[in-house]
Symmetry: C2
Subunit: 143 residues, 2 copies
């Protein structure tokens, strides 16, 4: 997914060790979605989006396995991450860099209650499209 | 400055070693503003705001020494940081968490060409005001 350079800012040349580090070691927690054969269909991480005085807002990132697309895995992970976030006491969830060309993801996050609150002009250097806008999406989890 | 809990998300209990680390070691570079007696009047850091495919947008943070307020130090650092950013090839500069109660800073960044492009609801837990909004401010540096 990172190698495609279309949805995450991580270098397309990232090593597997570095990818594991940023995804599953740096964040507070990482989860996997498994089928009944224990195959990995997707994964997401959750972490505070800022240090201490901004740590009540979390950030998550999601990846669905190529062969598992279109089966609601991302939706299930999004719902799971919101429950997880509430259980951990987070008040809101923020996505910092949703690539504007990733229309499927934007539609999905909107369906799950996220609002586009910001357009970052040319903030993402897409592998094939060049500089494209990125969105900040936000959802309040507690009143 | 961090101890006040009014403008930066870093913990008010941050140690000096940790503060030095996040300010001057993690970023790409940190600068100090000195007077003719080599006293430190202010400091700022500059770093890419995202990994590889978002690394053409930089992020800076600025602190002016308490005893040097109102003398244009922050303005001078803001201008210097923009020159530095251009020299390093950054295409834009983004402030991710400008505390909405920090009216002096917001006015100053606007004067230097930054636009408020986003309001993050309740994203900052202010030491005395509680949860307050934070702003994302942005300036294009190259056409």
């Amino acid at each position: 997914m990172f190698r495609a350079g279309e949805t995450y800012a991580f270098s397309p040349d990232i090593s597997e060790a570095e990818a594991r580090h940023v995804w599953s070691e740096l964040p507070a927690a990482a989860f996997v979605a498994l089928n009944s054969e224990d195959e990995v269909l997707g994964t997401y991480y959750i972490k505070p989006n800022q240090p201490a005085l901004g740590a009540h807002v979390c950030n998550c990132g999601y990846v669905t396995a190529e062969q598992a697309r279109g089966r609601g895995i991302a939706s299930a992970m999004c719902e799971h991450s919101q429950e997880e976030a509430r259980a951990r006491g987070f008040r809101a969830m923020q996505y910092n860099l949703v690539v504007s060309s990733n229309e499927g993801a934007i539609r999905l996050w909107k369906k799950h209650g996220f609002a586009v609150i910001c357009v970052l002009p040319g903030a993402f250097r897409h592998a094939s499209l060049g500089y494209v806008d990125a969105l900040v999406m936000f959802k309040q989890l507690q009143p």
